[in-house]
């Protein structure tokens, strides 16, 4: 029988894969241009509801734009920002964590002090603060989110490297004449990948919710780019007349984050021996 942890990975992975396909093939999958306005069809309910039109499966917004197309195109921003942030935050955090853990002394002290400052801010606040001063934009958003997330990777990798560098295989690599850079990159860092994968997966879920929150607050990407957060924010004013404007984008965020969390849960169950014992 398929064990629960593998089921989580398969279901979570399938949801994520589906969204990636949606994001990449958005121009092919979306039935309409997400920006095209048809004012005479504004605030049309979903196709199955009364007054719904077959042309608009999930209805239209206050400017007559097709909700389904906007949700499909919205997945691009969420996934792109999520993936880029995880990549950059992972690179910065893992590099600093590995250097601090492996070389110790001054490098460790400097990195630890900087980490402490970043840990003293709740990450959503760092992102809000950065976006308040940098202004809207995809690049700024990724930078702000990266700045709020790198410290998680740094802490975990530093801790792992501190323990790994005392292990026999590292001493053996050094005894064979391996230089510090080589030993660190070839023997130590690859052994942190399991933990980093788990943090990256959960991190992506957090980043997607944070991106949506920032867009909802008007601090994310510019208003003309459709994102799930900004769609929710626009739809909020019409909540009683047109609840589908908020229900569908919210559902899209929820399914995405749920899928990624499920994947993360499954990966953690496999990689964490402590959890394996608990089951």
């Amino acid at each position: 029988m398929l064990s629960l942890r593998y089921l989580k990975i398969y279901v979570g992975g399938a949801i994520l894969a589906l969204l990636v396909v949606c994001g990449i093939a958005a121009p092919l999958l979306a039935p309409r241009d997400p920006q095209a306005q048809t004012l005479e069809d504004r605030l049309r309910p979903p196709r199955w509801a009364e007054n719904g039109l077959p042309a608009y499966l999930l209805g239209t917004d206050n400017l007559g734009r097709d909700m389904l197309s906007r949700i499909i195109f919205g997945s691009r921003i969420s996934l792109m920002v999520g993936a880029a942030t995880v990549l950059f935050a992972g690179l910065v955090g893992c590099t600093l964590g590995a250097v601090a853990g492996y070389f110790g002394s001054t490098a460790d002290e400097i990195v630890s002090k900087i980490s402490e400052i970043f840990l003293a801010f709740p990450f959503l606040l760092i992102a809000i603060a950065m976006m308040a001063f940098l202004g809207q934009g995809v690049g700024n958003l990724i930078f702000a989110l990266m700045l709020s997330r790198w410290v998680q990777y740094c802490r975990v990798v530093r801790g792992e490297v501190l323990s790994l560098k005392e292990r026999d295989f590292v001493s053996a690599a050094k005894a064979l004449g391996g230089r510090d850079g080589y030993v660190l990159l070839r023997h130590v860092v690859p052994n942190t990948f399991a933990s980093v994968t788990v943090i990256a997966t959960f991190g992506m879920a957090i980043v997607i919710i944070t991106e949506a929150s920032l867009s909802f607050l008007g601090l994310g990407v510019p208003a003309h780019i459709p994102t799930w957060g900004s769609m929710l924010s626009e739809g909020r004013s019409y909540i009683n007349r047109a609840p589908w404007l908020t229900i569908f984008p919210g559902l899209a965020i929820f399914i995405t984050v749920f899928g990624i969390n499920l994947l993360g849960d499954g990966l953690r169950d496999i990689f964490d021996p402590k959890l394996r014992r608990q089951r």
Partner: protein, 332 residues
């Protein structure tokens, strides 16, 4: 006491770092904040005058020193948007946010701890899996979406709860602490108390739901870990009732992890209040922060962010001290 002093002294470089980061944010921002604030119609003379008034024409080091000394004395100047002292604005709104954070914490604890403990005690049962699925859903729900759905259903469809504000218009509360729940209770104003509870309910559920999900999972795993300890087996072998084993031996030891997570998440509650307060037009400092950002009131924004960070830091310090009370074996 010595621990407290050591921690406070150790906090100084971190707080200096925080203040420096926040100070620098305004200076690394693209474009001139003064031009942005005054708009396109401002003449170069207007811009120059405002820069002088704000002290932005002085060297960076002097400005930072001025920012620091003002911060220490609590003199943050006047808000450009509200034309009122920043400290007064914060003083008026901070109690609302603290009340919301506290209510969310209560919601999270009352939902999560029993669910987590029950899941652990009955672990691998159907109820355990159901509890964990609910927790996974809770972690994945964007709280602003949940807030909007609550507004739609309980505010719009059922018309049961107010959808905005902190208290019904026309009801007055004598201000003592600024915490309406507390003030209305000690002055015996039950009408105000009821109205405050009604206004708090949906924002507190919105803000507390994600925390509840996290605490449920942590409570479960923490209780599971403690259940395997030898002293629990000994307690059972002594013939103690299961209830006594759970309450006196398991929960007390599992509490350390739960309190740690609650403490760490309090900061997330404070920053999450920014989004929740915006959804419910709740007049706290989160709502004030978004208003100040929209109005490009950089001074107020800077101070509010600094205040959020310092509050987060102080809360974490208090949580650390709370450990020693929960578990006397812990020494710093």
């Amino acid at each position: 006491m010595r621990t407290l002093i050591r921690r406070v002294v150790g906090a100084v470089p971190v707080l200096l770092g925080i203040s420096f980061l926040i100070f620098m944010l305004m200076h690394i921002a693209p474009g001139d904040p003064v031009s942005l604030l005054l708009g396109d119609d401002a003449t170069p003379a207007d811009i120059e005058r405002t820069r002088r008034e704000w002290g932005l024409d002085r060297p960076l080091a002097v400005q930072y020193w001025d920012f620091l000394t003002r911060a220490v004395t609590g003199d943050f100047g006047r808000s450009l948007k509200f034309n009122e002292p920043v400290i007064k604005l914060i003083g008026e709104r901070l109690p609302a946010t603290l009340e919301l954070a506290f209510a969310s914490l209560v919601v999270a604890i009352f939902l999560a701890v029993p669910l987590g403990v029950y899941s652990a005690v009955k672990h691998n049962s159907l109820l355990d899996h159901a509890g964990m699925s609910v927790a996974l859903i809770g972690v994945s729900l964007p709280n602003f979406w949940l807030g909007i759905l609550l507004i739609y259903y309980f505010g719009g469809q059922l018309n049961l709860l107010p959808v905005a504000g902190r208290i019904e218009y026309g009801i007055e509360v004598k201000r003592i602490t600024g915490l309406y729940l507390f003030d209305s209770l000690i002055t015996g104003n039950l009408e105000a108390f009821g109205s405050t509870v009604k206004h708090l309910l949906m924002p507190a559920i919105t803000l507390g739901s994600a925390l509840a999900a996290i605490v449920t999972r942590i409570s479960r795993s923490s209780v599971l870990e403690v259940m395997r300890q030898d002293y629990v087996t000994t307690a059972r072998a002594k013939g103690l009732s299961e209830k006594a084993v759970i309450w006196r031996h398991i929960l007390r030891n599992a509490l350390i992890t739960i309190v740690t997570i609650l403490g760490l998440q309090l900061g997330a509650l404070l920053s999450g209040s920014v989004v929740t307060e915006t959804v419910f037009s709740y007049p706290g400092i989160g709502d004030l922060l978004i208003q100040s950002i929209s109005a490009r009131d950089y001074k107020l924004t800077q101070v509010l962010i600094l205040m959020f960070a310092v509050t987060y830091f102080v809360v974490n310090l208090l949580v650390d001290l709370l450990y020693t009370w929960i578990d006397p074996r812990i020494k710093f």
